[in-house]
Amino acid sequence: MEHITTPKVEQVKLLDRFSSRATAGTLYLTATHLLFIESNTAASEETWILHHHIAVVEKLSLTTSGCPLVIHCRNFRVVHFVIPRERDCHDIYSSLLLLRRPASYDDLYAFSYNPKQSEQQRAGGWQLIDLASEYERMGVPCDHWQLTDVNRNYKVCDTYPRDLFVPVSASKPIIVGSSKFRSKGRFPVLSYFYQEKKAAVCRCSQPLSGFSARCLEDEHMLQAISKANHNSRFMYVMDTRPKLNALANRAAGKGYENEDNYSNIRFQFVGIENIHVMRASLQKLLEVIGTKSLSMTDYFSGLESSGWLRHIKAVLDAAVILAKAVTVEGASVLVHCSDGWDRTAQVCSLGALLMDPFYRTIKGLMVLIEKDWISFGHKFADRCDQLDGDPKEVSPVFTQFLECVWQLTEQFPQAFQYNEWFLIQIHEHVHSCQFGNFLGNCQREREELRLKDKTYSLWQFLLNDQENYVNPVYQPGFSETHPVLEPSTLPFSFKFWRNMYHQFDRSMHPRQSVLKQVLSLKASNRDLEKAARALEAKLQKQGVFLSIAVDSKSKDPVHPVRPKSLILSAPLNCKEDEQKLSVCDRVRTVEGSSSAENGYNEEEEEPASFTKPEPTLVSLERGVARMTC
């Protein structure tokens, strides 16, 4: 690679972010990764940092021990190296600046990543998620909703997918007319169909209404959506922006629907802030939690003034309103913001997640993301800063969505098939540019890049180790009794997502997790079952027939073995290095001021354990996942 001048630097120190611990090692710069290998012989731990994950590289002023290089990653890893010679540091620094953000898509990791799969497997991966069958599952087309071919060639709206569902009564001229009255041509289309009440969740962008403009086709379009639902005499139009922002947009010839011009609509603002506010908020949050020896006061006031949890609450509040309007009132809802690809995507997808248990399964979440985010043109390339672009376009909108899902999994642990590790993995790869799914800003762009031929799909990769992502307390039966989730959105219901934002900070990990306990019991049950089977088979062979029934209803329907995740303190499968981890267990905790856990006598006899000699109680849940495979 032409950007790499110094591929290897020795005697580099890696400083722990919160304690004063430092480890020495060697730094390697490869075409795709920055790699740090500890020189400690016993357990030389490795830190892999994908170039695309790097958000900010800082070279601090020279100190006596060397030149400090601080790297902030999009997956919230922060590493602090001290490089002995300033020249080496500068070389690495300037290489990273060039490597982290390539100028064109072709230089992204996804195009060089090769997991050694056959062409057929690659194609299979891309066929895993099929949106056509998803719409069918929802119950469209039906009497009132049909597939339109108006956008077959991306002519009407180039940021929408080709296949769109619209009311049967909306003719082509109406659609085209409406699209001309909507920002970026994003006219109202179906996002989710709630079959039980025939109510629809539709999405679009803001109308180009300015102070007084009207568009008859657009008014017809909304009327058609409203009429397609016989359950309700009116439909809601939900503008997810704060009213002030919408008002300001009027001056630019945009704005919001005037209730007087549209028959039977109920218009409502829900007040989610824009991408710039969200970006600044996350920035502030990261600053606060990154502070060494943070006082309680600074923590709380910092957390509050960052506004992060307040924004999460605003998004979830909007989704709750949406779900309620659809499921309780049976009304159709049209959701928009400014361009209809950020807040609209958040609210539509979370609303659907609250209404439909399918989206609470592993496959379902993939479908949801594929539909509301990828196909409807959430600008992943701009928001996640994939190429060297406008920093003002970068915003953690999708991260917020994942966090909202996580907050829901915390409130309803039994309702979700996936666990937090699944969400973290998705977040990881949205920024890794290792898979084709999230590249580019819209479907048209993705087709032009021929991603399906040149890159691999993340979904295949995640499904391959699905067992790592299964939530052990998931109860499929729960969705039958509680198809619609109604979460609490009181402020204390929102927690700081420690495992996401402190994912790579060992000292911040919990000491013990119930999840782990559940999993080891589950594993031991499986082994017991196996033992019973084996014995039964043996007896049968010897001619003894016995059938002692085990209540199979309570048997676990799914497969999970112990997931290997940071939360469960084991690294991801590419590098099995549990021994290394145990060495690192002896870290003095920050603020806790405790020394390593030391049992004071050895009288504890290890009971004859049937399962892996994994003690049900592991003292410290620590470990850093190796995310780069």
Binding site: E304, L490, L521, E591, S594, E602, E603
Partner: protein, 629 residues
């Protein structure tokens, strides 16, 4: 649970519905019978009467304990802070206030032990205008207020106010506390849980360094200490008497706990009486040095003064103080910065203000911070961690505050909980509370104000609540380390106030002996141990020698929402934590497998003799996961 509760729970158990409609039904349910109400435990049968018949004869089903007597019944309006005024009838007994609505369905009930009441006030006068402006305002010790409205005509309030006042504060009216009238019987006798000699024996005491002394047999040495004390073998009873003259309230340093391996000890005492002039006492100095020498490893005895440095200095003005460096050359003094009872009282009061009746929404985090409650929790835990850490390292420590019965009890008991897994069992915890809190004279009577009308008494303070909160924080961080669950902790707190049991009555052992508490009252542990199944933590895994170091960092501490905000109907009160539930199911499944295996092996038994490769016996398998009771 009564039938009304179950029904109403059934349709609200999963949601906290923001919509008005849902909120209503749910409010009824949760407000009426909080899950953790201490009193709904024993009323199962009496509450089973059908709701229809209740309509006809209001308050036919007032729960009644043996020995409880009805005082009066009255029509009243309960002004529920969550859903407005509710008409009903109140029944007052010598133990409780019981309210039942007649107009809402399912019936709403309030069941409040009179012991919980801290203050009763009249609101409005006979000429007050406005609906429901004339009545009673009752402040409770458990984070809530109750308001009742009465009809203005005919002095209807006077009788009920006087009766309530009389029975809520019996000691201010020369009446007996309910506990002395109670006729409750349990299969277990909780007074047998703690025996000082047996507990010291369990710790391996006395030995050749430490001896039991009976110098306080008649409470002649120190009237707030128990009769049996553990002191250095080398110190004579005469020495102890001399030392006692130099310690506030004669509370001399005595052993609380000894490390089974390194023989380091935790000693507790009160502040030395140094005074302004900086008095010294040779006997005290020699006594502390004897302690230091006892385990042979302690180079410097660490004295933890729980107070902030300035407070300790200020105490000199009133004759107290701390161990000076010159006088105690072989000791190091560490201040732990924990504030006094007045600060803690105000902190909890502020916390109540932001959670009851309405939860502060707009500035939740900064409001929570401004109460400093979690900050205090953090300091107490951090102090206990330091003590435990020091002890693990083989150093003996002395802990004191001013009088050695508030902060000292918190620190010694929490560090013992960290160091000794015995105290994390159901019985062990009862022993810990009996020993460190009750027998060593935490002034329960003054801190709680049992049966006393003087609500503004400056001696009142939630020190014990704070301790239980710290324990709860530990159970959150180590979910498998404690045999008891959250309900156990809540039950303890509810009965801290209820005056149904003798456990927390009076300030010290000498008074309890005088009042014949053990003979005349029932212990809380009697009730708990008679039905301990529901207090068992299913995740508990028995272990013998692990030191728990919780993280006293704000990233890990959280507000105990299910206790402090439990009266708010918007708190989701799940009958059982879904994770716990799932775990129980899996445990049951495990037992089925084990049974099956056993049966299979029995039929395989004849063959085992000549077949060596049979799987492990079920008895071996059972070891590594504990059996649920």
């Amino acid at each position: 649970m009564n039938c009304g509760t179950i029904q109403s729970r059934a349709h609200c158990s999963c949601y906290t519905a923001p919509s008005q409609f849902h909120l209503k039904t749910q409010t009824m349910a949760s407000a009426s019978t909080p899950t953790y109400n201490s009193n709904n435990l024993e009323n199962n049968s009496s509450k089973n009467a059908s709701r229809e018949s209740l309509r006809m004869e209001p308050l036919a089903d007032v729960p009644q304990l043996p020995g409880e007597e009805r005082i009066t019944d009255k029509d009243i309006i309960y002004i529920c802070p969550f859903n407005g005024a509710v008409k009903g009838k109140v029944s007052i007994t010598n133990y409780r206030l019981f309210f039942k609505s007649f107009e809402v369905d399912p019936a709403m009930t309030l069941d409040v032990p009179l012991g919980v009441i801290s203050r009763i006030e009249k609101m409005g006068g006979a000429s007050s205008r406005g609906e429901n402006s004339y009545g009673l305002d009752i402040t409770c010790k458990d984070m809530r207020n109750l308001r009742f409205a009465l009809k203005q005509e005919g002095h209807s309030r006077r009788d009920i106010f006087e009766l309530l006042f009389r029975y809520a504060f019996p000691l201010s009216h020369s009446l007996q506390l309910f506990v002395f009238l109670s006729q409750e019987k349990f299969s277990e006798n909780g007074w047998n849980v703690y025996n000082a000699i047996l507990e010291y024996q369990r710790q391996g005491l006395p030995n050749n360094k430490w001896r039991i002394t009976f110098v306080n047999k008649q409470y002649e040495l120190c009237d707030t200490y128990p009769t049996i004390l553990m002191v250095p073998f080398k110190a004579t009873d005469e020495d102890l008497r001399k030392v006692s003259a130099f310690r506030s309230r004669n509370r001399i340093p005595v052993v609380s706990w000894i490390h089974p391996v390194n023989q380091a000890v935790i000693m507790r005492c009160s502040q030395p009486l140094v005074g302004m002039s900086g008095k010294r006492n040779k006997d005290d100095e020699r006594y502390l040095d004897t302690i230091r020498e006892a385990n042979g490893q302690t180079a410097k005895l660490t004295i933890y003064d729980a107070r902030p440095n300035v407070n300790a200095v200020a105490n000199k003005a009133t004759g107290g103080g701390y161990e000076g460096e010159d006088a105690y050359q072989n000791a190091e003094l560490v201040f732990l910065d924990i504030h006094n009872i007045h600060v803690m009282r105000e902190s909890l009061k502020k916390l109540k203000d932001i959670v009851y009746p309405q939860v502060e929404e707009t500035h939740w985090l900064s409001s929570l911070e401004s109460t400093h409650w979690l900050e205090h929790i953090k300091l107490v835990l951090a102090g206990a961690i330091q003590v435990a850490d020091k002890l693990s390292a083989g150093n003996s420590v002395v802990v004191h505050c001013s009088d050695g019965w508030d902060r000292t009890a918190q620190l010694t008991s929490l560090s013992m909980l960290m160091l000794d897994s015995y105290y994390r069992t159901m019985t062990g915890f009862q022993v810990l509370v009996q020993k460190e809190w009750i027998s060593f004279g935490h002034k329960f009577s003054s801190r709680i104000g049992h049966g006393d009308k003087n609500h503004a008494d400056a001696d009142r303070s939630p020190i014990f609540v704070q301790f239980i909160d710290c324990v709860w924080q530990m159970t959150k961080q180590f979910p498998t380390a404690f045999e008891f669950n959250e309900l156990f902790l809540m039950t303890i707190l509810d009965n801290l106030y209820s005056c149904r049991f003798g456990t927390f009555l009076y300030n010290c052992e000498s008074v309890r002996d005088n009042m014949e508490v053990k003979e005349k009252t029932v212990s809380l542990w009697s009730m708990i141990n008679s039905e301990n199944r529901k207090y068992i933590n299913p995740f508990y895994t028995k272990e013998s020698s692990r030191v728990l170091y919780p993280v006293a960092s704000m990233r890990h501490l959280e507000l105990w929402v299910s206790y402090y905000i439990r009266w708010n109907p918007r708190i989701r009160q799940q009958q059982q934590n879904p994770v716990e539930q799932r775990y129980m199911e899996m445990l049951a499944l495990r037992d089925q497998y084990l049974k099956k295996l056993e049966e299979l092996q029995i039929s395989d038994a004849p063959r085992i003799a000549n077949n060596s490769n049979s799987p492990a016996s079920p008895m071996q398998l059972v070891h590594h996961v504990q059996t649920p009771l």
